[in-house]
């Protein structure tokens, strides 16, 4: 844990003034029906840090990510144990409003999913509308511009904001989805393989966007692309589910350490491309 503390210290100076919120998973386990898929995962995702979750398919990375904003429980047979603390507060506490928590912890999905019935601008402000947040026309215009700027899409779409969001290319749609999740000012942004459906150019734009957001938002990204994890993240957790056992974290630490000097031989095999 000392590596992460150090990391936190070193990063604390990078973005003065922004309210930083970290997210911590404590003893998180997960089941689908009677099938246990995650076993006592502990991971601290400090503020202003990009944390990459890597590991082979079916090791529970996405499940873990979905537990972080309570999307896991939208699947009928899904169960979980443990705590997820946002700024020290357990988001699974009975007194917590689930919609309020999801608003603070945004999510970008693997497949770009702009709302087809809405224009580009309406897609960006959809979060306000959906959560019943009032905003004047001027405020909305300001939010649209700011979020599209932060999502790295403004210059490409500023002249056609009232066109349908689905008219954009896949990479643009994904950046629109990032802008959409930023409009409700989340403290944490979860990304579930955001680039797996994109071409290399779009992937680079999304990675640039991640780097630009990192000083303000805590980002957790699931990726199958080892180079991407190395490029975008400061912290890294390697998940693995060995034959017949639930998934868990084998090793976590700074990305540099996990990639260059892994403690566990399995991590070493995975990051060097010997399996997975």
């Amino acid at each position: 844990m000392s590596t992460i503390d150090l990391l936190e210290d070193s990063l604390a100076h990078s973005a003065p003034g922004s309210s930083a919120v970290g997210i911590d998973a404590v003893d998180v386990s997960a089941w689908f029906g009677s099938n246990k898929v995650l076993e006592r995962v502990n991971l601290s995702m400090p503020p202003r840090t990009v944390t990459a979750l890597i590991g082979p398919s079916g090791c529970g990375k996405s499940t873990f990510l979905r537990i972080l904003n309570r999307m896991h429980e939208s699947i009928p047979s899904a169960k979980m144990a443990g705590e997820v603390r946002l700024n020290g507060e357990d988001i699974y506490a009975p007194t917590v409003r689930i919609t309020h928590m999801r608003k603070r912890i945004g999510m970008v999905f693997q497949k770009p999913n702009p709302f087809p019935a809405m224009s580009i601008a309406e897609n960006v402000t959809a979060g306000l509308k959906l959560t019943g947040t009032k905003a004047s026309r001027a405020e909305k215009a300001e939010i649209v511009e700011r979020c599209l700027q932060r999502g790295g899409l403004w210059n490409e779409v500023k002249d056609r904001l009232d066109q349908p969001g689905q008219a954009l290319s896949g990479g643009q749609q994904q950046r629109l989805c990032i802008a959409r999740s930023l409009a409700v000012n989340p403290d944490v942004l979860l990304m579930d393989e955001p680039c797996s459906a994109l071409d290399p150019t779009s992937t680079r734009r999304v990675e640039e966007t991640i780097a630009e957001l990192a000083p303000d938002v805590t980002i957790v990204i699931v990726t199958h692309n080892m180079q991407q994890a190395a490029r975008v993240s400061q912290q890294c957790a390697f998940f693995l589910a060995e034959q017949g056992t639930p998934g868990g974290i084998v090793e976590s630490g700074t990305t540099k350490q996990v990639f260059d000097n892994p403690h566990d031989p399995r991590t070493s095999d995975y990051v060097s491309g010997r399996f997975g």
Binding site: R102, N113, P116, A126
Partner: protein
């Protein structure tokens, strides 16, 4: 030296000579002249054979002639194809010919129904000055066609369908939303019941309304009661097709909405329903088109009037199906013509509604 000599030749060979002029798309059809000729030959040959057979044996009858013609045509077509093609091709052609024949039968049936109706209704239908602007009040069944009209029936149908729509829109959409968005064990039961109700004989909807609203609540036979009977028929149709429209909304959109912090109600109202908008509009219009021509329930719960009655809560109210039913059953040629004229109006109305449904369900593109 040899290399130098060869290179110009090679260059010519490797780059295809560019023919001047615009390029023309190639024909990608796999049907050769032979194929077309054998089809035509089978068709004409069969016609000849059957005609000769009818002459020789003295058989008669159009239906028999057509059926025999089709059978002989299939046999000839198969025989001709078999001479130059492997077995799968023969089977393929035979099945295609059979399917095309079936389609022709269905198309002809539809076409003949429409032409027969329009033809019989034309004398009344074409009296533009009175048929659509006057009612049947005080018009004797034997009266000439330039007197009286069906305005009261058109108005009645419009009012009854309007009320039925107001009742089944929330019920049908609500049921569909319950089945697809809320779910749970009860949703399956509801779905089964809805499916069963779409197959319910329409006359039962009339009997149900009669038993409840007229016998128990003691309402009169008014336009409103008729509209309720129509709504009973319409609601399951709307619910069933709206459910299909909601089911094709991608689950990723629901997740995206929930992940933004939206409640489930807000997700349904602002994401799922707008996304399925076109499909839902179609389901409603299909329901309307279905009940506009519904006759059985109206026979039980609706009285028929000859005068204009715009109040659905008092006095009987006529409607197009009821008017058609009573008109074509009368013995008077003029009154029968009026019935067919009204049927033509109903056909046109349903066609317009279907066209509207298709228009609303069109794929959306460009800016909105």
């Amino acid at each position: 030296m040899t290399v130098v000599n060869q290179s110009p030749d090679l260059a010519v060979m490797s780059s295809a000579p560019a023919a001047p002029g615009p390029d023309v798309p190639r024909s990608l059809s796999t049907r050769s002249f032979d194929d077309r000729a054998s089809w035509l030959a089978a068709m004409v040959g069969a016609l000849g054979i059957v005609w000769v057979a009818f002459q020789v044996t003295g058989w008669s009858g159009k239906l028999g002639f057509t059926l025999l013609w089709f059978a002989v045509y299939l046999a000839l077509y198969a025989a001709v194809t078999a001479t130059g093609n492997p077995r799968p091709v023969v089977v393929d052609r035979l099945v295609a010919a059979g399917v095309a024949g079936g389609a022709a039968v269905v198309g002809l049936a539809l076409l003949s129904t429409i032409t027969y109706t329009v033809q019989k209704g034309w004398p009344a239908f074409s009296h533009w000055s009175n048929f659509y602007t006057e009612t049947a009040a005080g018009v004797r069944p034997t009266a000439p066609l330039d007197q009286g009209g069906i305005l009261h029936a058109i108005a009645g149908t419009a009012i009854q369908v309007g009320i039925a729509l107001v009742i089944s829109l929330p019920l049908g959409l609500g049921t569909a939303v319950y089945i697809t968005e809320v779910g749970g064990r009860a949703a399956k039961t509801v779905r089964t019941v809805v499916e069963a109700m779409t197959a319910l004989p329409d006359v039962l909807a009339g009997l149900f309304t009669y038993a409840t609203l007229i016998l128990v609540v003691h309402l009169d036979r008014t336009g409103f009661v008729a509209a309720v009977a129509l709504a009973v028929t319409m609601t399951p149709i709307v619910a069933r097709s709206a459910e299909v429209a909601l089911r094709v909304v991608p689950g990723g959109l629901r997740e995206a909405s929930l992940a933004l912090g939206a409640s489930q109600a807000s997700t349904v109202w602002r994401v799922v329903l707008p996304t399925a908008r076109a499909g839902l509009a179609t389901s409603l219009i299909l329901g309307i088109a279905r009940i506009s021509g519904e006759t059985a329930p109206l026979l039980i719960v609706s009285g028929a009037s000859t005068y204009q009655n715009l109040n659905p809560f008092a006095q009987p109210m006529n409607s197009l199906p009821l008017y058609i039913f009573s008109a074509v059953r009368s013995g008077q040629p003029n009154f029968i013509a009026r019935g067919f004229g009204a049927a033509t109006v109903l056909l046109a109305l349903v066609t317009v509604l279907f066209a509207l449904a298709r228009y609303l369900a069109r794929p959306k593109r460009g800016n909105r």
